[in-house]
């Protein structure tokens, strides 16, 4: 670099970029399929294409992993840092996306699947009633999801704030659209999407403003230069601090941390449930992956400055999530508040710092992702004439009607509550352990307290299901199709295995937890 203004094309390492290229390519292909393949065959073709692309990308990530060294991790003129931790994050996003995509494709639960056929038709009109009854759901969801996954993978490996911002938009825009596509309760869905979009755009503005301030201080937007500039720049450090604060706000919004959590319950409730599962699992991974990279790679010299503030945010997030979960009467909203509280626990791991903090965060993300997908998959099964019956009171006595279903859901709730021998316990133990190791005992104190509060709403659902008589309005539990069953089985198995024998994954996360600057 330097003073000569010769524009050089950066060298691209295609082996490292292959997973993202596969996804973006498949997404473009998906758009073409929408145009050329007959409607009847589209769902199957799109689903197979989506799964193949995700699996192909996963294979590329796995093949790449043994060959990554400190020297060859960065590519595209250091704009991307596809290092061990980055590959792990990409792999997690892909695996979780594969499981959620299975839920997208389910068409046996509801005629035409969980998505609306044409989102633009006015709700409640003659056309709308017609499409609700007859037409199969939109298949554009597959390419949209692939774009989102590709964006997330870019997001977690960005080594440069500008690339990170672009990736943020690439994965956010498809999500806004996806939220609006629910087949039932369409107004709720559209409202959710609009709220998510407006607030998301607002948060992006924070991020962008922060980026500008950081550039003002460091004169660069890549993490290596930012890191080197700390305390070595003639500019006022307040610029950098304010920039970091605003970057954090943008990222904490995606992570659903308080006080930037307000959108979460509405969006989780309004979005089609498969989309909610996808967001809850994959967006969390992406948001925390990026947040960790920003804090660990770009700004680790400022640990003394950001830890107390983010610590307060973590405490607020845990408490608000836990206490408000207690008052919820809708299961999707309950899980939304639980996801807020879980963002707080993840922050404890992140702020624990060091290798332990990072590895505990990675473990938590995977464990939580599978758990939350399985939980939302369960929600898709309890239905009545109006679609999913998510009001808590409706679930009373479900244990009598469908013991197997209630048994599995009980297991998942116990995992959420962090009861031992489930992945929830090990994950919480790991992040709190990292918090202790990083001398953040106060965070662990609040973590333990809030998780004790949070156990209450989960166990209340358990009691509702088992220890109440089913009423006349108790909805029925649909038999899941092969796709949902597979997703469920994977989620439940992983939750159990990670609870009983977490050693291999813990070893893996410990080995991969270093970012390359």
């Amino acid at each position: 670099m330097g003073e000569d203004f010769v524009l050089e094309l950066p060298k691209l390492d295609y082996a490292a970029l292959a997973p993202m290229l596969i996804l973006f390519g498949a997404a473009c292909l998906g758009v073409l399929i929408e145009a050329f393949v007959p409607r009847a065959a589209r769902n199957a073709v799109q689903l197979v294409l989506g799964l193949l692309a995700l699996i192909g990308a996963l294979v590329a990530v796995v093949l790449r992993a043994p060959h990554v060294t400190d020297a060859n991790a960065q590519t595209a003129a250091r704009a991307l840092s596809i290092d061990q931790a980055g590959l792990f994050l990409q792999g997690s996003i892909l695996v979780l996306a594969i499981v959620s995509l299975l839920l997208f494709g389910e068409r046996t639960l509801e005629n035409g699947g969980p998505f609306v056929a044409q989102a633009a038709i006015t709700v409640g009109s003659e056309l709308d009633r017609n499409q609700a009854a007859k037409q199969p759901g939109a298949t554009e969801v597959y390419p949209l999801a692939l774009f989102a996954v590709g964006g997330m993978m870019l997001f977690v490996t960005a080594n440069d704030l500008l690339v990170m911002f672009v990736a943020l938009e690439v994965f956010s825009l498809p999500l806004y659209l996806l939220c609006a596509l629910a087949r039932r309760k369409r107004l709720l869905s559209q409202e959710a999407a609009l709220k998510y979009f407006l607030l998301g755009a607002y948060a992006s503005a924070f991020f962008l403003f922060g980026l500008a301030l950081v550039y003002g201080y460091a004169g660069a937007v890549d993490f290596r230069s930012i890191h080197a500039s700390i305390n070595n720049s003639p500019n006022d450090i307040i610029l950098l601090i304010a920039g970091l604060a605003m970057l954090s706000i943008g990222l904490l919004f995606k992570a659903a941390a308080a006080p930037f959590h307000v959108w979460t319950p509405d969006v989780y409730q309004g979005a089609p449930t498969p989309i909610t599962a996808f967001m809850a699992a994959c967006t969390k991974v992406a948001a925390f992956g990026a947040l960790a990279r920003v804090l660990y790679v770009g700004f680790d010299g400022l640990g003394w400055e950001f830890t107390p503030v983010l610590g307060v945010i973590a405490v607020l997030t845990m408490l608000i999530g836990a206490i408000l979960a207690v008052t919820q009467t809708d299961l999707k909203r309950l899980l939304a508040y639980s996801s807020i509280a879980n963002a707080g626990y993840l922050l404890v791991g992140v702020l624990g710092g060091g290798k332990e903090g990072l590895s505990s965060m990675l473990f938590y993300l995977v464990a939580y992702g599978f758990l939350v997908i399985a939980a939302f998959a369960m929600l898709t099964l309890v239905r009545d004439a109006d679609g999913e019956a998510t009001h808590l009171a409706r679930w009373a006595g479900l244990g009598k009607r469908s013991p197997l279903f209630a048994g599995v859901f009980t297991f998942l709730l116990l995992a959420f509550a962090g009861i031992p021998l489930t992945s929830g316990f090990v994950a919480k133990f790991a992040v709190f352990g990292a918090g202790i190791a990083g001398n953040q005992t106060w965070l662990v104190l609040f973590g333990v307290l809030s998780s004790i509060i949070l156990a209450f709403p989960y166990l209340r659902v358990v009691v509702m299901m088992w220890l109440s008589e089913p009423g006349e309005t108790t909805p029925s539990v649909s038999i899941p199709g092969a796709l949902t069953s597979t997703a469920l089985m994977i989620g439940v198995l992983v939750t159990l295995v990670l609870g009983v024998w977490p050693t291999p994954l813990i070893d893996l996360t410990t080995n991969v937890s270093n970012f390359i600057r």
């Binding site: 709720l188 790991a430 190791a437 813990i506």
Partner: protein
């Protein structure tokens, strides 16, 4: 192999556990058998209804036989503490937790108590629950409880203990709420859950503190190094563990849930809320004796909790009319004695454990006896409506009498051999506190005699005060329970008679490797004086009760003086909890809901919208407007930005 724990002068010898061999290497089976049985019972359908309860009983019996085999094998080993690590459970950096078990004399006592008494209660429950449609499910939860309780006492580190701790809590919660049709049962379940969670928080924080200070949660490492910790750390650690113990064991200040837990079926009260789970707190403290012995202040706190709770339990128990509640408060009070014992430290650890074992027999005996009475009296629980039952249920009467004589400490029954030494040990505490705690224990003995005699006389003797069809209730036709219920009663009665005399000195010897050798006590008064005093008080308490209640009592509670009224209201401890914990908690929640849903709206829209929206807005599906969300984000953003800048400029320390 060196002895595992020596009371040498300087630094204590490190705690060393041997590896398990032979039969002992199968100790995981102890847990696995009831766990698998629970799984079968809870997952199979109605076709298992016919034989499910027998499977439940058999699994506990097999565990008992296996445990007894291991007990005898352990006896012949040079190092009577063997452990077995199945695999490394959580290996994160410096944080290593093994999935491992430990079998030592303390564990052996608990394994035999849990499976032995547990089997008898399972057997009894086959009869007691015979007509309940949910019997198979009941035995599933019951087996689950046994497995979790065994996990609690068999773990070789605090995380394993916590696994069991959560497991028994869960099983207890499910079993209290078992008769969910009754709203009181649901409320009781909730109360138990909340109070236990508060205790659990203490335990978890204690475990994390241990990890932070010692880098390990394994018993051997923690105990070997506990003496090296700074005194304040030991105090905090001990207090956290004590909080956990008080939650599980129904001790002050977390005692309120235990009497309410009696809403569950009677065998549950006998097994979980009398004989085993509620003694987990005593186990925790006895197990952690190197920590508790390392700080005098800590011991004083434990002793005070014990003494206060034992008096509290006695006083409240004297004013209750529900047969199971009286027994429940009596349990609270007896566990108070055990806490007193473990708090005194030294030789008193063993005394507390011996009392715990004896209590397991006589309290289970009396609970099952109470169940038998209820069985014969159409589920009546009010002792004011019993009377003269001895003629109709002879076996229940005789076995209950053994339990009664045992708990009030009449020689030669078991209570005499186990409670007496604790009172003597309390008097032996140095300084004026010896008088304080000694007298508390002594007065407790007199009060125990009073309320237990009241219970016994009102139930089995005096005039009949049964309900009749005329007063709108049912006519009573009391009858003895079937054999399957009375046989466990007979066994437990035999235990109530002989257990104390048989166990007192051998068990103290047996526990020496874990808690240290029995010590010579030098109480404030002569040993004999104390014994005589306590016997005199006991006979006096029993005599007063006999004199007051032999002629029966009023059919309903009568107006009474302030002391009795206070005791009837649990000495206002519930009111205290409500005012100090419940109300603020509710207000906090309401305030948060308000801020999250309406507060910002209110700011934007003015008061009118707030009033107009009223409660209706709370019921709407989605409450928020994007503008108010955005505003709250902006406020949050400004705060975060301000905080970052403030920290940077050094405004915040």
């Amino acid at each position: 192999m060196q002895p595992t724990l020596m009371l040498a002068e300087g630094a204590p010898a490190p705690v060393v556990y041997a590896s398990a061999t032979g039969l002992l290497s199968y100790m995981w089976l102890l847990i696995a058998i009831p766990a698998v049985s629970a799984l079968i019972l809870l997952t199979t359908g109605r076709w298992a209804d016919k034989w499910g309860h027998w499977l439940g009983c058999a699994s506990v019996l097999v565990s008992f036989v296996l445990g007894a085999g291991m007990f005898f094998e352990l006896r012949d080993l040079p190092n009577r503490a063997v452990q077995q690590n199945l695999y490394s459970f959580i290996p994160v950096g410096s944080l290593k937790v093994d999935f491992g078990f430990l079998f030592d004399p303390l564990t052996a006592c608990f394994v035999l108590l849990i499976t032995g008494v547990g089997f008898l209660i399972h057997l009894y429950a086959t009869g007691y629950m015979a007509h309940d449609p949910g019997r198979r499910r009941f035995f599933g939860y019951f087996n689950l409880f046994i497995a979790a309780m065994l996990l609690l006492v068999l773990g070789n580190n605090y995380v394993m203990l916590y696994f069991g701790w959560e497991g028994v809590g869960l099983a207890s919660y499910l079993l209290i709420s078992f008769w969910y049709g009754r709203p009181s049962a649901a409320t009781a379940g909730k109360k138990a859950f909340i109070m236990n969670r508060i205790g659990d928080a203490g335990l978890v924080l204690g475990i994390f503190l241990m990890f932070a200070q010692l880098g390990s949660v394994n018993y051997d490492v923690v105990f070997s190094n506990a003496g090296l910790l700074p005194s304040t750390t030991v105090l905090v650690l001990g207090l956290l563990l004590l909080l956990g113990a008080t939650g599980k064991s129904g001790q002050f200040p977390l005692q309120a849930w235990l009497p309410d837990a009696m809403e569950g079926p009677t065998p549950v009260s006998a097994l979980i809320h009398a004989a085993t789970m509620v003694t987990a707190g005593v186990y925790l403290i006895a197990r952690s004796n190197p920590i508790f012995s390392a700080n005098l202040t800590l011991q004083t706190v434990v002793v005070s909790v014990g003494a206060l709770t034992l008096l509290l339990g006695c006083i409240i128990g004297s004013a209750k009319d529900d047969i199971k509640r009286v027994l429940a408060w009596s349990t609270v009070s007896q566990i108070g004695y055990m806490f007193l014992g473990v708090g005194l430290g030294g030789g008193a650890y063993a005394l507390a454990i011996i009392h715990l074992l004896a209590h397991g027999f006589f309290k289970a005996n009396m609970f099952l006896g109470a169940g038998s009475v209820m069985h014969g009296m159409n589920d009546q629980v009010d002792i004011r409506r019993f009377g003269g039952l001895w003629k109709y249920m002879r076996i229940t009467w005789l076995t209950f009498m053994m339990g009664w004589l045992a708990i009030i400490g009449i020689p030669p029954l078991s209570g005499f051999f186990t409670k007496e030494p604790i009172i003597v040990a309390a008097f032996a505490r140095p300084g004026w506190t010896g008088w304080l705690y000694g007298l508390a224990a002594l007065i407790g003995a007199g009060l125990t005699a009073f309320y237990m005699t009241r219970l016994f006389i009102l139930t089995f003797h005096g005039p009949k005060r049964w309900t009749t069809a005329k007063e709108g209730s049912v006519d009573q036709h009391p009858h003895e329970s079937p054999l399957v219920m009375t046989i466990p009663l007979i066994f437990l009665a035999l235990g109530s008679i002989f257990a104390g005399w048989l166990m007192a000195s051998p068990v103290a010897q047996w526990l020496t490797p874990v808690v240290g050798p029995p010590t010579e006590e030098h109480p404030k008064m002569g040993h004999l004086t104390i014994t005589v005093l306590s016997l005199v008080l006991t006979v006096a308490g029993a005599g007063v009760a006999y004199w007051l209640f032999n002629k029966g009592t009023a059919l309903a509670p009568q107006p009474a003086g302030p002391v009795v009224t206070a005791a009837r209201n649990n000495l206002y401890t519930d009111a205290f909890n409500e005012a100090v914990f419940e109300k603020p908690g509710k207000w906090l929640t309401r305030a948060l809901v308000f801020v999250d849903n309406k507060g910002v709206d209110g700011v934007v829209n003015g008061l009118a919208a707030l009033v107009g929206g009223g409660s209706g807005r709370l019921r709407r599906l989605q409450t928020g407007f994007v503008r108010s969300y955005a505003l709250s984000m902006l406020l949050g953003g400004v705060l975060v930005l301000g905080a970052f800048v403030a920290v940077q400029l050094g405004w915040m320390g």
